[in-house]
Amino acid sequence: MTKSELIEVLAKQQPHLALKDVEQVVKCILEQMSQSLASGDRIEIRGFGSFSLHYRPPRMGRNPKTGGSVALSSKHVPHFKPGKELRERVDESREKYPITE
């Protein structure tokens, strides 16, 4: 499922809203999530999961083209931990459905 497919599914369930409005809703939620993580704040959605930042210490990396080493500074990367309900639902249906894009 892609973002536009998600928008369509939501619009079908909220027939009083225009597709454009639902598009705004989805963008607004995703932007708020990105902004929260970008400022170092966690996201906690009961039943779905939580997003937090993980710290990566500085390291020496390599330029794959020249082979020369480059110093990479420390950074944070987003991390998602699925919630109990999501974990259980996904696992329970694994024999019923193959994994698809």
């Binding site: 499922m1 892609t2 973002k3 998600l6 599914v9 939501l10 369930q13 909220q14 809203l17 409005d21 639902v22 705004q24 809703v25 989805v26 607004c28 939620i29 995703l30 708020q32 999530m33 990105s34 929260s36 993580l37 970008a38 400022s39 170092g40 704040d41 966690r42 996201i43 906690e44 959605i45 009961r46 039943g47 779905f48 999961g49 939580s50 997003f51 937090s52 930042l53 710290y55 950074k75 944070h76 990367v77 987003p78 991390h79 998602f80 699925p82 309900e85 999501l86 974990r87 639902r89 996904v90 696992d91 249906s93 694994r94 019923k96 459905y97 193959p98 994994i99 698809t100 894009e101």
Partner: protein, 98 residues
């Protein structure tokens, strides 16, 4: 402070002028539809944000960390998240203390 569902509805109310009921329903539905898709084995790709992927794991031996006792970890399907380029770049810039 962690962001929760209530914050999303609040924002939809403030910024898009949805009424509180609609805003709350849409936030619920948003996460429910993603869960349903993953439940059907369908991965979810939200461009600019990231991708929720699925992985089937085979069973493997494990240990109870408390007792040290050997127990089998059963085969299972798990959800993983891979952040998109845009989100990665925005988060990388964060230098504060967690």
């Amino acid at each position: 402070m962690a962001l929760t569902k209530a914050d999303f509805s609040e924002k939809l109310f403030d910024e898009l002028g949805l009424n509180k009921r609609e805003a709350k329903d849409l936030v619920e539905l948003f996460f429910e539809e993603i869960k349903e898709s993953l439940e059907r084995g369908e991965e979810v790709k939200l461009s600019g944000f990231g991708k929720f992927e699925l992985r089937d794991k085979t069973s493997r031996p494990g240990r109870n960390p408390k007792t040290g006792e050997e127990v089998a970890i059963t085969a299972r399907r798990v959800v993983t998240f891979r952040s998109g380029q845009k989100l990665k770049a925005r988060v990388e810039a964060y230098a504060g203390v967690q």
